[in-house]
Each structure stands twice: as C-alpha cells, then as structure tokens.
Symmetry: C2
Subunit: 340 residues, 2 copies
C-alpha cells in the first residue's frame, strides 16, 4: 500500500476538522497550551463525535477509556528514564544495608559515580540494580522510599523535581478528556508501583488506573503476625510493545477509544486502539524541540536515541494508519507549567 | 489468645451498633432484603463512619474501595461453580472443531455425560478441560461464546439462567456502597475474563473492576493484518487465598476498606483488609439455609463441601478478628430477586 505523506495526512485531517466546530478559544479554551492546528482539532473533533448523543459514533460513558504512555508522552524521559535514576540513586542505601555488595558488580561501578561506566553497564547488570532497589521490601516501604526520593531529587538539566517535568498540554488533555467522561489510564513500560506513587497527585490518575510493568508480590506475615505484601523479583507483565495491549486487556478489559504515545514501544497499543470500530484517536508526540525540550527520533532526520526511539518506520505507520503526530515545536504553545 | 465466641462477638457488635443511628427502615430502607440485626447494623455503621466528614474515621472518596468474592458471596456456587459447568458444556463444540479429541481423556468422559465419572476427574484432567475451553481463541470470540452460554444455560435446580442466581441482599449492598462513594470490585478465584462478560449487567461492576484468576494473552495479527489478542494457557494470577491480596495489589494498588467473602479462599483478603488503619469492614456469608439455598460449612456443624468450604478454623478466625459472619438464614429476609 502506498504510504501517505505527512503533508497529505495533515491536509486530510484539516479538511475533516473544518466540518466540525473549532476548538474553544480565548478564556474558554480548555487546551490553552495547544496551538490551533490539526492535532488540537483532531482532539476536539474526537471528543465531540464520541460524546455528542446525536453523533453516529457516540460512545457510552462506561466505554470511554483513554490510555497514555508516560515516559516521553506525559513527562520528560531524557537523558534517562526517571525510574532508572531512582534505582541508581537508591544503590548507596541498598549497599549500606548489605555492605558485602560494595565490592561486587554492578554496585561497585554505580557507587564510583563514573557516569560513562554506568551508562555502559550491560542489561543483565541493570536488572540486578532494578531487582535490588525495587524488590525485597514491603509495598508500603517501597512507597515511602520512592516518595522520599521524589520529594528531594532534582533533574540535573532543569534543577527541578522530576514531577514538575510534565507536559502542560498533556495535563490539559487529561483534564479535558476526564471532563468529557473519559477514564484516563497510564499504560507505561515503567514500573507500575513506582508510577502509582505520584500519578494521583501529578496527573490526577489514581493507582487503580496505572498499568505498568509489574512484578509479583508475596503475601505473608511479619513478626507480629501482621499481613505483609513483599515485592518479589518476578516479572508478571512487561508492559511495553505487545505487552501494552496485553496489559490493557489484563488490567482494563476494554479496548481504549484513544491512545497516546511517543515511541516504538507504543506502536501496538495504538494499533490495537485504532483497530476498534467507531471513532478512535491515536496520537504520537514527536520530540522535535531541541530548544525547549529535546529533539530525538530518528524519524524525519532527527537525532537517534537509546531512550524513547521514534523511528521512521513508526512515523510511516502513523501516516498510513491515520495516527496524529504531535510536533512539540509546532503544536505546543507551552511545554512546562513552570515556563513564563 | 482466647477465641471469642460467636455469641459474644454478636453481643459486642450489637452494643457498638446501638451507639450509632439505626439503619433506615420502611420505604427508605436501602437494604430491604436484610433483616435488622448485627450484620445490617455493622454495614450501616461502617458506611456512616467512613463517609461522614465529621467522623474521626472518615475516608476520602478516592480511597473507598470495597472488594467482593463472587462464587458463594454474590451468587450460588453449588453444586458446582458456574464456570466449571460452562467449561464442561463447551466440550462438545471443542471436540467438533478438533474431532481427534473425542476418543482421548478427559474429553471422552465429559462427552459420555456420566456425571459420577465427570465428578471424579482428577485435577490434571480438569485443567485440560479449562485450557481447551478457555484459551486458544481471541478475547472477542471467548466473550461471544460465554455470552451465548449465559443466555441459554439453566441451573438444573432453579431452572433459571445462572445470572439470576445472585443474592438480592448483596446486590442491594453493592448499590448502597456505590451510592456512598465506594468503588466496588469483584475479586474472584473464577476466571477474570469469564466474570467480565456479565459483571456489568448483573452487578453494575465494569470489566476494569473485575479482578480474577487471569491467564495471559498474546498480541498478534490475523490474516488480514488486524491486531488480535489470543487467550493463552499461561497462568498470570491465581486469584485465590494469598492470590487475592496479591491480585488486589496488582490490579487496584490500594488496600480495600471493606471485603466480603464466604470461604477459606477469602481469608487472606479479609485479613489484609482488616490490617489497614481506620474503619474496616470484613464479612463472611455463611450458607446455613438448606431450605432457601444450601447449607454447607463445615463450620458450626454444617455439612462439609468440596466447593466453597467455610471451615471451623475460618469461623474461629472471624470471631477473633472481628469479622462479621452473615447468616443467610437469619440475616437475609429474601435471598433471590425472583422469590415472591
């Protein structure tokens, strides 16, 4: 099948958009950080055609499910996933509790602080760090450890808490969808328990609406006979790529009406969403704004990346399937709430 | 520690109940199928003390989670779990699609219709039947197969659809809790996908609030390139006993405020619920009404059972921990909606 070019797709979307009401503007604009353009129009049109009871593609409230990737879609993922930073930052505390680890790899390298060496750690070593910092404790202990880190850690580039590095246009979109009767879910390759610690406060998304990579827990009792759930190094769901629709089925049991992502790991979630009948919205955020955030692809000639790759093949599929590509540079008036 | 007797516990509950408002009666009674007594009073008191903003044990709406076992708690589980009947009933269709199975066990025995022989099938054979009837198809195919069965199958005792064999007092309780801001979940040892087929229509509980024994799915594409989720014979969560609190953490991520069960498989869920701080409600339905439903325990000298056993040890723990035991015979004015 011929691949529809980006330009043609945008023209097509704009033509469709002209048939429906334009988004609210000025003081009534619920998406003020979005510039008027095909992306914003596609969102508003989708909401209108799924919530207007006279629409042929009306969706009953119970079926209004919208799923959002997190890293790179709702908040910054460069130069390293926040959760990986968390795990590395936890290593000293883990070693303090088990001093024998100090002289064994990969803990020795992490403790050295040598960033180049840490970046080169093989995947097996990274898993050892994840297991040591994300498992072995009760779910409550993990929650308080993660919360303490979030309260104090600062992103080295912006010198701000990681929880401030959320994209203001996406926060507005979450609120707009919820105000339109959509239940908003996070569907992330990141750790489900980690994201649950802050998702309610940061995104207004409660723990039960966070689907993520999940490990098992083990039910037992502490010394005083109190029930305890202990986090186990046992992978139940690898919530990335094909794992995203699989995780959606496991945790939600309904096909989303709208899905939002930014990288190849989101491809299957968007395919699955769009394969349903009626009106469906699939969107990919393209990081093409080196000045205000980061620029990486490698689609459209943008620099490649090890984190959150948006390949040309993904871009081609987006154009072919009618997914909307959001240009951070062009479609977003403001990226962060803390901007002037 | 000394074991508190049932009588003493009931007196204790009644004493506490007298300190708070009595449940609504007459036309305003939201629980008309519950007789006035300690169980009903415990429910109403729990709701009052967790929803009254002036209460020391007030619970914010977002944290109001109530979990319900299904088989034996929300609907009839005797003489055999409905889902097992479904699986046995599906065998002819499975054999029709794969005729070679007709001469191999356990399919041969199931096709024979010999109930005594079927009841004696070992667990390994039962798993073969479950795998053959619950996996291998797309999630949509499974849904339509299960729905077709639910529309036509009849319980042999009541000659009614299985979905009518729900307990009216529990339906009222679900509605009362939801009207009080509680999110109601099913947490069942039964198959998550099976229960999701009817939970919304029967209990008002949407698919995303059904936690059950769950198998994996595999994301792929059909011949026309359309995404398909295929049900796999791979167990992700055995949602019974310790698996219930583990499943609650996986799927909900919050400790319930109230939990309802009827058998030893619910013990850990109730323990976990009650171990939280503030006001918590834990209830067990005791099947002690041979006339209107079934009588089985073997607690309190009731006959033993292979399905949904409520042991004396469970009863002892209930008394010790302050769980409320609901006597179907004494606490429920009406059991089924279809009763005169």
């Amino acid at each position: 099948m011929p691949i529809v070019t980006r330009r043609a797709a945008i023209i097509g979307i704009a033509a469709l958009a002209s048939q429906s009401a334009v988004p609210a503007r000025g003081a009534d604009d619920v998406l003020p950080s979005w510039r008027d353009g095909p992306a914003k129009q596609a969102i508003v049109r989708f909401v209108q055609e799924t919530t207007d009871t006279s629409s042929a593609t009306f969706v009953p409230p119970a079926e209004r499910i919208a799923t959002f990737d997190q890293d790179g879609t709702l908040w910054v993922e460069q130069p390293m996933y926040s959760q990986v930073v968390y795990c590395l930052d936890r290593v000293p505390a883990v070693v303090k509790a088990k001093p024998a680890l100090a002289t064994s790899e990969p803990f020795k390298t992490v403790l050295s602080g040598n960033r180049a060496a840490i970046a080169k750690l093989p995947m097996d070593d990274l898993f050892k760090i994840l297991a040591a910092t994300l498992t072995g404790m009760s779910v409550e202990e993990f929650r308080s450890q993660a919360r303490a880190w979030l309260d104090t850690a600062r992103d080295p580039h912006w010198k701000r808490p990681y929880t401030e590095l959320t994209y203001q246009p996406m926060i507005e979109l979450l609120k707009y969808l919820r105000a339109s009767g959509y239940k908003t879910y996070i569907v992330t390759g990141g750790g489900q328990d980690f994201v649950r610690v802050y998702a309610e406060q940061v995104y207004g998304i409660p723990p039960e609406q966070v689907v993520g990579t999940a490990g098992g827990t083990r039910y037992g009792y502490d010394k005083s006979g109190r029930p305890v759930l202990t986090k186990e190094p046992k992978l139940l769901l690898n919530d990335d790529n094909a794992g995203k629709p699989e995780g959606i089925h496991l945790m939600i049991g309904r096909r989303p009406r709208a899905a939002f992502g930014n990288s190849t790991g989101d491809r299957q979630m968007l395919e699955y969403t769009k394969a349903g009948d009626g009106a469906r919205l699939a969107m990919l955020v393209l990081h093409d704004d080196a000045k205000r955030e980061y620029a990486y692809g490698p689609a459209l000639g943008l620099p490649g990346t090890k984190v959150g790759s948006f390949t040309q093949a993904l871009h081609d599929e987006a154009m072919k399937q009618g997914w909307v590509v959001v240009s951070m540079k062009n479609d977003w008036r403001r990226i962060f709430a803390f901007e002037e």
